[in-house]
Symmetry: C2
Subunit: 399 residues, 2 copies
């Protein structure tokens, strides 16, 4: 009896061993270095299934894991102390991830770093069929400018990123429309440029004649969430004010201090220093997730400031919302609402302020120029928002 049990357990172990080996061999072995690796780094890699494989030398470690999509995958150590392993298939597009080495959560030294989830950390790109729309091509390029400016509201020098379209400095008489474009919670003013490829999306659209050239202003709507990339020394007057972070890491500022910074400091700075048209007709606001919710609150409360509105995975606007603001219906010439398809599959998806498709349709029936876009096969992640910007940019400032 005891021997039979032993035999059974042994068979079970062997079987599970075989299963494990099978799941290993079922991985398609066409891994290539990720397009967002550090220079010269082979790992992390991505295969045609969207699996992420990473590798790190840690001869003294007991346990190393790849932490992506809220799942931790064990890596396996070879005789040289090099750990390797891969994740389940991931959605196309951009994902944040990290390594876990004996309990320490650290960036993967193989990847480039991006600001999200409240920290600079690793990111990976799962190739998609449509990634050509943000590819770097030999077309006329705009510039992404790092712009320090003084904000009275925060009493500090803050940092905006400003995209100026190709030819901006060549034609000194032309004035441009301007879009204020906001990131999500736990992200900052670098997100739309780095993860979002805003400048490349716009350069390509403008080259194809699919979008009118406009300026894009990206600021930190988590307010003092992060200090600028250019750090300040401890002893400067600005260090204290920029260390105040009302939101804290992951800070969530709906329409308080950021609204004041935007309306009282940022828009006046941009209009005084850039060749923008400077009227409501030529002023747009859009954002993703928290940035979409901020767009919703700020544009509803200021229907004489913005005429073009985009909300990406950040709620929608209903007939109820605008019943007491007749100016909103009159002034707003574009309302664009979008979600990733996987968000809508989730019963909680798109729930901010009611069903986004129904809401958008009802405003359309009431005579407004509304658009509802669903990004196929993506969730609450950057590929949904890149595609949303790509769609939105083709509609904005054309009414």
């Amino acid at each position: 009896m005891k021997k039979q049990l032993q035999k059974f357990v042994m068979a079970l172990l062997l079987t599970s061993g075989v299963c494990s080996a099978q799941s290993q061999t079922s991985v398609v072995e066409d891994f290539k270095p990720s397009s967002v690796n550090q220079p010269g780094k082979e790992y992390p890699m991505v295969n045609s299934e969207g699996r992420v494989r990473t590798q790190i030398s840690a001869p003294g470690a007991n346990k190393v894991q790849l932490d992506i999509g809220a799942v931790k995958y064990d890596l396996v150590k070879d005789e040289k102390g090099v750990w390797t392993g891969e994740s389940a298939p991931q959605d196309v597009g951009f994902h944040y991830y990290q390594l876990n080495i004996d309990g320490a959560s650290v960036p993967d030294p193989g990847s480039l770093y991006f600001f999200g989830a409240g920290r600079w950390g690793s990111g990976i790109e799962i190739p998609s069929d449509d990634q050509d729309f943000f590819a770097l091509k030999d077309v006329p390029h705009g510039e992404l400018r790092e712009v320090p400016y003084f904000s009275k509201t925060s009493n500090s020098v803050r940092r905006a990123y400003i995209y100026t379209p190709p030819g901006y400095d060549k034609n000194n008489s032309k004035r441009y429309p301007v879009l204020y474009l906001q990131h999500g919670m736990g992200e900052n003013e670098t997100g739309w440029g780095n993860q979002g490829h805003t400048n490349l999306i716009m350069d390509n659209l403008i080259a194809e004649g699919k979008a009118v050239p406009f300026i894009i202003v990206m600021e930190n709507s988590g307010v003092n969430f992060e200090r600028p990339r250019n750090p300040r020394p401890e002893n400067t007057a600005n260090a204290d004010s920029t260390r105040r972070r009302p939101g804290g890491p992951g800070g969530f500022d709906f329409a308080g201090e950021f609204k004041k910074i935007l309306l009282n400091d940022l828009i006046p700075y941009v209009e005084a220093n850039y060749r923008v048209a400077g009227d409501m007709k030529n002023r747009a606001m859009a954002g993703l997730s928290m940035g979409g919710m901020q767009t919703r609150l700020i544009t509803l409360a200021n229907p004489d400031v913005f005429s073009q509105i985009g909300m990406f995975s950040g709620g929608s606007i209903s007939m109820d919302d605008i019943k007491n603001t007749p100016d909103f219906k009159k002034n707003v010439k574009l309302l664009f609402i979008s979600y990733g398809s996987r968000e809508l599959e989730n019963p909680r998806g798109g729930g901010f302020g009611g069903d986004p498709k129904v809401n958008t349709q009802s405003l359309k029936e009431a005579g407004m120029n509304t658009h509802f876009y669903v990004s196929p096969g993506t969730a609450h992640e950057w590929h949904s928002w890149r595609r949303s910007l790509y769609q939105f940019a083709q509609l904005v400032f054309k009414n």
Copy 2:
């Protein structure tokens, strides 16, 4: 006898234990978060002695070390699995560093990341008495622009960072001098902006009237050493060409492909797209370390292109070097050579092409406008180069 030996060894151990404890207690407990920490991160910290203390939770780890200045310092684990420890005092200024967790070299998740030593990794700032010259202040600010441009030499879209001084977009008739400013080996086009604070140094100097406003162009003189921050997908035409990295990580390109890129592609692009004066009198080249050596080779070989030259910790120019190039002596209106004082203490320091002070003095005696600057108390590191730029910028384009 055996017992006596045991006693002696025990005493030795106790003594060394006491010594170790003393060296612990001799650490000055005035640590403050580093000025280049990620938002909300308490560690790493720096004290008034210039020691770096870091901390990381790694409950399962066997050994965690802080790796800075080519020395590894053991961290100590507490009962919760949190490791803490500090380095010996470091020189003032900026240093690259990393953590080592059970043999894995990884970035510290507490710090911001900088490109140096061939990788994006951790950096720390040891406060200096003179750091006010690169502090972020409420003065008029220039812009740091990320500029994609097409290079025929590399047959790819490359990335430059271009600093435009305050007011550049306001005065459409003014034309500016331009400085081509190069990084060191294992660094890239982001170094002068991030670690070097080029834009803040210039904004402050211009606000005080100590420098004439000029444009600064920063490109990757390791050639295709790094792909741009904005990554390209695998399937684009540019991906292949930008993956070619003749230098490889740590790539060293003296005067080959980079010289062609600079002279044939970058300078023409800048002169066609920016309001630069566009003559030799208003064209400068400077660089640090490898960038200084590139400056030396390129300016000596092209005495009709640059009239203002800066070499920071990157060699010097002797009478011998210019004996066959009479145009060099005639055309060059400023030659600025600098080193960190700790480099000159080293017998190998400043050795590229002879004693830099002697060389500079002999050119001065021959009638050239030369300057020799020594940064006090710093080595072959960024604080030497920030100070060098600060000095150079007050001299350049004034002859």
